[in-house]
C-alpha cells in the first residue's frame, strides 16, 4: 500500500493514528486531578513532539543508515528557523514559503558543511561537524547579530516590510503565522466530562508534515539508495571495489538529513516565530544524538520515540514543583508527607536534568538498542516466545 510493504504500512498506520489522536492519547488524566500534571496534550508540547520527531527521523537517515555521527545537526535546525523567520519578516506570514525556504537554506548549508566534513570519517567527521556548528552558534550569538538578533533571537516586529502581507494587523498587533488564513496558534477545546482536549491547527499541520516525513523516510529506508547507505556503514571498502562511490551517497544522505533538520527548524518558527541562537549550540546537537540512540538508532520509529521521551521530561518534569508534589501526597500524615516530598524533590522541578541523566543510563544499560529494543523485548515476553538471537542480529545495530 502506497508503495510500502505490509509491515511498514502497518507501522505507518499506527504512527498516523497516534499522531492524529495525540490530543486524546496524551491527555489521559482528568484536568482537575493531581495527575493532570503529567498530561502532555497541549499544543506547544505536541508540536514539539512531532517537530523534534522530524528532526530525529532526518538525523537517523544519516546516522542510523550510514553510521556517520554528526555532532552539528542543530546548526541546520537553526538556519532553518532563521530562514523561516526572515521569510515572515520580509514576505508574508504564510507558512508555506517559510517552510520551503528553510529546507532550501538548510540544504545548501548542508551541502557546504557536508562536502568538507565528509572528507573524513569516524570521530574526525563528528568533530568537523561539531566545529562547524559551534562556529555558527558563536557567530550567531555575537557578530552576526544583525542577521540573527543574537541573544534574544530573531523575532518578527511591527515594522517588518512583509511585502505580500501586512506589517501590522488592523488593531495594531503583529500578524500571526498562518496557512492561508488558518492561524497556527488557534485551537479548539473539547470538554468531555472532567477531561479537556485541545485541538490545535499548528499541531495538525506539523503532524501531517511529520507523517509525510516519516513516509518519505520509510521509502528511503527501503530504497536502493537506503541499501547503499547501509552498505556504507557495513563495509565502505567493499563498496568501493563494487563500483560505487560512497562520497556522493553520504553527501546526499547528509543533505537530506540536513533538510529534515531545516524543515524542523522552519516548523518550529511557524509554531512560534522566534529563532534563538541556542538552537545551534552543541548541546542541542547532542540532544538529537541522544534522542536517536535512546529510541534506537537505525530503526524507523525509534528516533520519534526518543524525541518524545526527552521533550516530555524537559517540559513536564521541569514544571513539577514542591507545591505540586505536596498536592499529590497530601493524604499522608504530615511527617511522612514531608519525607516523601523531600525524597521526590531532587528529581523534579529544577532536578529534571538529574532524572533525565539517570534514565539515559538505565536505558542504555538495560536496553541496548534503545526504547524500540525494549518494546520488542516486552512484545516477545508477552508472546511467551524465547528471545531469539537471529532476531536481534537481523535488526540494524548502531554504528561503532
Amino acid at each position: 500500500m502506497f508503495g510500502l510493504g505490509k509491515k511498514d504500512f502497518t507501522l505507518f498506520l499506527i504512527v498516523a493514528v497516534l499522531a492524529l489522536f495525540a490530543p486524546f492519547i496524551l491527555n489521559p488524566f482528568p484536568t482537575d486531578s493531581g495527575l493532570a500534571q503529567f498530561n502532555a496534550g497541549y499544543p506547544d508540547l505536541m508540536q514539539r513532539f512531532v517537530i523534534f520527531g522530524i528532526l530525529a527521523i532526518g538525523f537517523n537517515i544519516l546516522f542510523g543508515l550510514t553510521g556517520y555521527l554528526s555532532f552539528g545537526h542543530a546548526a541546520f535546525l537553526g538556519v532553518g528557523s532563521y530562514a523561516a523567520v526572515w521569510m515572515f519578516k520580509l514576505l508574508s506570514m504564510n507558512v508555506i514559503p517559510a517552510i520551503l525556504l528553510s529546507m532550501i537554506v538548510a540544504g545548501l548549508f548542508a551541502v557546504v558543511i557536508g562536502y568538507v566534513s565528509l572528507r573524513r570519517s569516524g570521530i574526525y567527521f563528528s568533530i568537523l561537524t561539531l566545529a562547524f556548528a559551534q562556529m555558527s552558534y558563536n557567530l550567531a550569538y555575537s557578530v552576526l547579530t544583525p542577521i540573527t538578533n543574537g541573544e534574544t533571537g530573531l523575532q518578527i516586529t511591527l515594522d517588518d516590510p512583509r511585502v505580500l502581507g501586512v506589517s501590522a494587523t488592523a488593531d495594531g498587533g503583529i500578524p500571526v503565522t498562518n496557512l492561508f488564513g488558518m492561524e497556527m496558534r488557534s485551537f479548539e477545546t473539547l470538554v468531555l466530562g472532567p477531561w479537556e482536549f485541545q485541538f490545535s491547527v499548528g499541531y495538525y499541520l506539523a503532524a501531517i508534515i511529520m507523517l509525510i516525513s516519516f513516509y518519505v523516510a520509510i521509502r528511503i529506508f527501503r530504497s536502493p539508495f537506503g541499501m547503499m547507505l547501509r552498505a556504507i556503514k557495513s563495509n565502505q571498502n567493499r563498496l568501493y571495489y563494487t563500483g560505487l562511490n560512497a562520497r556522493p551517497y553520504t553527501l546526499a544522505a547528509f543533505v537530506i538529513s540536513g533538510m529534515y533538520a531545516g524543515l524542523a527548524g522552519g516548523l518550529l518558527a511557524c509554531m512560534d516565530p522566534l529563532a534563538g541562537a541556542e538552537r545551534m549550540q552543541w548541546t542541542a546537537s547532542g540532544e538529537v544524538v541522544l534522542m536517536t540512540i535512546l529510541g534506537g538508532a537505525g530503526t524507523l520509529i525509534g528516533p520519534v520515540l526518543g524525541a518524545g521521551f526527552i521533550k516530555y521530561f524537559e517540559n513536564i518534569f521541569s514544571k513539577i514543583n514542591d507545591q505540586v508534589v505536596h498536592g499529590w501526597v497530601s493524604f499522608l500524615p504530615d511527617g511522612l508527607e514531608d519525607l516523601v516530598v523531600a525524597l521526590i524533590h531532587p528529581f523534579v522541578g529544577k532536578g529534571w536534568h538529574l532524572t533525565l541523566g539517570l534514565l539515559f543510563m538505565l536505558i542504555v544499560i538495560f536496553l541496548p538498542g534503545g526504547l524500540v529494543e525494549g518494546g520488542q523485548r516486552i512484545a516477545r515476553r508477552l508472546r511467551r516466545k524465547p528471545a531469539k538471537d537471529d532476531a536481534k542480529s537481523a535488526s540494524t545495530t548502531p554504528a561503532e
Binding site: 547532542g286 541522544l290 531532587p346 538529574l354 541523566g357 539517570l358 561503532e400
Partner: protein
C-alpha cells in the same frame, strides 16, 4: 613583542588545562577504547574536591556577638572554624589558607576511587558496546554527577582562593629584559603551568619507564596480542582509568583558584577537550599535549585586539577553525594513528 610574549604565556596556561584534560581523555580512549563524555565531570569533581576540603577545614561553630546585629536586627552569630580552636587562630587560618594545595593530597585518593568505581561499576560493561552507547551512558553519567554537585553546592560559582603566598602577580617581563610592567603575570598561573608540566612529565615517565606502563602502551597498540600473552590487561586498565581520573581531578583542583568552580565547568571544558584530543589524534598522548598547547596559544593570540580588529569575532571561532584546518590537512590529527575510530 611584549604583547606577544604575554599572550604566549596566557596560551601556555590555558593550554596546560586543555592538555591535562585531554591527556586523561585520550589515555582512556587509547587503553579502553571508550569515548568518555564524563571526563569533563571528573575535572569538575576535582575542582569541587578543593571546595569540599575548604568547607571541611572551615567547619565552624557559632559564637554570638552582642555588639553587632544581623540583617534581621538580631545579635550577629559569628562563625568560628574548629581549626582555630584546634590549632590556634594563626595556625588555623594558615591551614585554611593552604586548603587548595592540601586538596591535592585529598583529591588523589578520592579521584582514583571515583575513577575505579566508575570503571568497575559502569564503563567495564561498555567495552564491547558501540561507541554510540558509550556516548549515551557517559553523557548520562556526566549529567548525574553534575546535578549531584549542583544539589549539594548550588549553581553559583564558589570562590576558592589560592594561598596568600601565591596571590598577586609579579613582573615576569623584567626577567626577560622588557620594561617594567610590560608583562605582569599572576603567581598562581605560573604554579599551574609548572604543576601541569610536572603531571604531564610524570604520566609520560610512568608509561615509558615502568613495566606497568609498557604493558599498557602495548595494550594501547594491540589489545588482543597483549591479552594473548596471558597478562591480565583488564586490571591494569582499571588502574589506568583511576589514573586518568586523578589527572583530570588534579587539573581541576589546581584550576579552582583561577576560576571559581561551578557545577557546569566540566561541560564547558568537555567539548574543547574533545576537540583537543581529536586535533592531536585519537589515542595519541603526545598529540593531545601538543594540541592542547597549540590551541591554547592560538586562542590567546586570537583574543588580541590587533587581530580582532582585522577579523571581528575570530576569538569566538578560532579553536574550531584551527580544528577544521588541521583535520583537513592531516586526516588523523597531528599524531593520530591509522584506523583508530575511523569506521
Amino acid at each position: 613583542m611584549d604583547a606577544i610574549t604575554l599572550q604566549i604565556l596566557n596560551g601556555l596556561d590555558k593550554g596546560s588545562a586543555y592538555a591535562l584534560i585531554a591527556l586523561g581523555l585520550t589515555l582512556i580512549f587509547g587503553t579502553l577504547g571508550v569515548v568518555n563524555f564524563a571526563h569533563g565531570a571528573l575535572f569538575m569533581i576535582g575542582a569541587f574536591c578543593a571546595v569540599t576540603l575548604n568547607r571541611l577545614l572551615t567547619l565552624s561553630h557559632q559564637v554570638v556577638d552582642e555588639t553587632r546585629t544581623d540583617f534581621l536586627g538580631n545579635p550577629l552569630k559569628v562563625d568560628v572554624p574548629y581549626m582555630h580552636d584546634l590549632f590556634g587562630e594563626v595556625t588555623g587560618a594558615a591551614i585554611i589558607d593552604w586548603s587548595v594545595p592540601l586538596a591535592i593530597l585529598f583529591s588523589i585518593p578520592v579521584m582514583i576511587a571515583v575513577g575505579v568505581i566508575m570503571e568497575r561499576g559502569l564503563i567495564k560493561h561498555f567495552y564491547r558496546r558501540p561507541h554510540a552507547d558509550q556516548i549515551l551512558v557517559t553523557f548520562g553519567l556526566a549529567i548525574v554527577l553534575q546535578e549531584i554537585i549542583k544539589q549539594i553546592f548550588g549553581a553559583n560559582p564558589i570562590p576558592t582562593p589560592a594561598p596568600d603566598a601565591f596571590t598577586g602577580s609579579f613582573d615576569f617581563g623584567v626577567l626577560l629584559g622588557f620594561d617594567p610592567n610590560a608583562i605582569i603575570y599572576p603567581y598562581w598561573r605560573l604554579v599551574y603551568f609548572a604543576f601541569a608540566a610536572l603531571i604531564i612529565g610524570g604520566v609520560f615517565a610512568f608509561l615509558q619507564f615502568t613495566t606497568f606502563g609498557m604493558v599498557v602502551r602495548a595494550g594501547m597498540a594491540d589489545r588482543e596480542t597483549v591479552g594473548l600473552l596471558g597478562i591480565n590487561i583488564d586490571r591494569r586498565f582499571t588502574i589506568m582509568f583511576g589514573l586518568a581520573a586523578a589527572v583530570a581531578g588534579l587539573a581541576g583542583v589546581m584550576y579552582a583558584p583561577i576560576n571559581s568552580p561551578n557545577y557546569h565547568m566540566g561541560m564547558d571544558f568537555l567539548v574543547l577537550s574533545f576537540v583537543v584530543v581529536v586535533v592531536g589524534g585519537m589515542g595519541s598522548l603526545p598529540g593531545a599535549v601538543a594540541a592542547g598547547f597549540l590551541l591554547g596559544i592560538l586562542e590567546s593570540f586570537a583574543s588580541m585586539n590587533e587581530i580582532k580588529q582585522i577579523l571581528p569575532g575570530i576569538d569566538q571561532i578560532i579553536i574550531y577553525l584551527v580544528a577544521i584546518i588541521i583535520l583537513l590537512t592531516r586526516p588523523r590529527g597531528l599524531m593520530g594513528r591509522k584506523g583508530v575510530m575511523e569506521d
